[in-house]
Amino acid sequence: MTRRLELAGIDWRRVSPKYVIVDIAGWVVLTIGMVVAASVPVLVSGFTPLWLIPAIVLVIMLIIVAFIPRRVRAIGYQLRDDDLLFRRGLLFQRFVSVPYGRMQLVDITRGPVSRILGLSDLHFVTAAASSGVMIPGLLVADAEELRDRLVELAETRRAGL
């Protein structure tokens, strides 16, 4: 019996593999910060066994980083007839379906690393804060095309709240 969540018959569109670099860059910065913070007790007290804390933090963060390529491959989206399907997550899986008519706005953002790699993130915002659909790691041209397509679809299926 399959225990994982999977939707049958969906041909997922994946995000750019280059997004792995963006994600890793973010996590590396976070890892450095956390390891430094975890080292404070040992640096202050000088009690050597306390090095265990930053070491554990480092191992956990490295495991997380090691799974990034698979996590990025797990991100997918698909434009169905009437709704946008979005999935992400490996350990914590999440599938969302948003009808196009529910779109309040589409937003394209680009972080510093994304900009260097020519990627951008697309946010699909509804009236519900918890919808939270953010498709990361799209090539700039793809993101803009997708945005225009979504706006067009939303226009034809316009609905109230």
């Binding site: 225990r3 994982r4 939707l7 709704d83 350990l91 899986q93 519900a128 609905a159």
Partner: protein
Amino acid sequence: MSSSTSDEASPQGNPTEDLLPNGAVLATRLADGEWHRLHPATPLLRGGLFIIALGGIVLSQLKQQLIDLVLGGPHAHDDGDALGFVTRDGRLVPILLIVVAVLVLIVVVFYLSWRVHTFRITDEVVEVRSGLIRRSYRKGRLDRIQGINIVRPFFARILGAARLEIDVAGHDANVRLDYLSSSNADGLRLDILRLASGSKEREQEQARLADPRGFVEQRVSEFVAPELDPNVAPPESVVKVHVGRLIGSILLHDTTFALILLIVAGAVGSVAIGRGFAIIILVPFVLALGSFLFRRFTRSLRYSIAATPDGVRVGFGLLTLSNETLPPGRIHSVQVRQPILWRFPGWWEIKVNRASKSNAKGADAQRNTTILPVGNLNDVLKVLGLLLPSLGDESTALLRDGIVGTGGASGFTNSPSRARVIRLLSRQRNGFASAPGMVLLREGAIWRRLTIVPEARVQSVAITQGPIYRALAVAHVHVHTVVGPVRAELGAVDRDVAIDFFNRVSLEVVEAVRSDATHRWLAEEKHA
């Protein structure tokens, strides 16, 4: 200022002669697409009361000196106080002149700000513009109205004025008409709702003509009148909340219980450690408890709920009266829930999510989202019937089962038996069901909840699964609606069932959204 602006307080003509372009008859002359002014007492009520209060304070401070001055008492010409300073030779006249000048200035400013504060209501929008120096302009689309609230603060009630708050979807996006005369507020709400409903063939409603009685009698009769105007709503409320039940429900509420527990624990703890003065840190909690009790009590007193052609009307309040009309299709999710101590008397409360969020002072969260403060199962079923009229009588059994039932007899799909680990007591209740156009989520054996979401209001659907859920082959289903006190989600659903739920509901939502026409809720009937 356009010459067409007319005073809100000006005598009403024969209202039945005021026809809209589409032939509608309106109850007041205020929704005719022209600019109108507000109640003349508006500046006084909005900002002027503090001046009166200031005057009162000054007077009470100077009471003794004034008496002495008039009666020639011993303090009449002391130098040490303000009055003595003022009344000393030669200063009285210039100081009085300054006082008069300031008063005149205030009156002029008030008058001018009243002159420029105007509103206009057309078929499409309601607009308000105001401000002498900083002009402000607010506009709300009628088809986005989430509710219209009439609030009568205590002082405004004495002057026969009321505030009309038009909730438009969005954070603090309300258009406020404060203040209108009380009778106009009721009529204008009816007019706005009619315009918003999109109904073109409106009933020839006999509008109330100018009241021949005098000012005082009219005020008195308005003051004692029931909150629901018998002319525009069925007179009796569907549900009555007796004061005894209200007090009981507040005392047995979880928040009261938790706060009292906290205070007792704190008091016992501080005595036990031998530092009695530590009780001081409990003061904020006592204050919180007091304000919670007071607010909940005064907000829920004189509760009434009734159906009108333009939606559900909910009213309550002791000193500040409030009654709000929610047009159809403005309720994004409904939750029936039972605080743990309410189980013995069998009481429930109903909360809803709505798209409008009022940030306005006084419009606190409870008033906006608590539709039924307390009621028994029959009251709950009646209120649900009003809130979700598309659930007919045939759904009563389903609703009843959703509120108090267990098992799957009436159509609820429960968690699989392997989910017993994570739903120890509530596995038999933890489930979902569907009614036409609705999703029902039932949860909790101790804190019992039933959440109902109209599919036409769903923003998105999601399923999630973490590692523990994966081991049990179950999933979490979420139905996203606008932000509010109700979260529509259900854990521990069988994996295959959850995927089916996701596929089915996401299709049904698209269909429901497409066929939804509640933004102009009566327009459909015209074509029919």
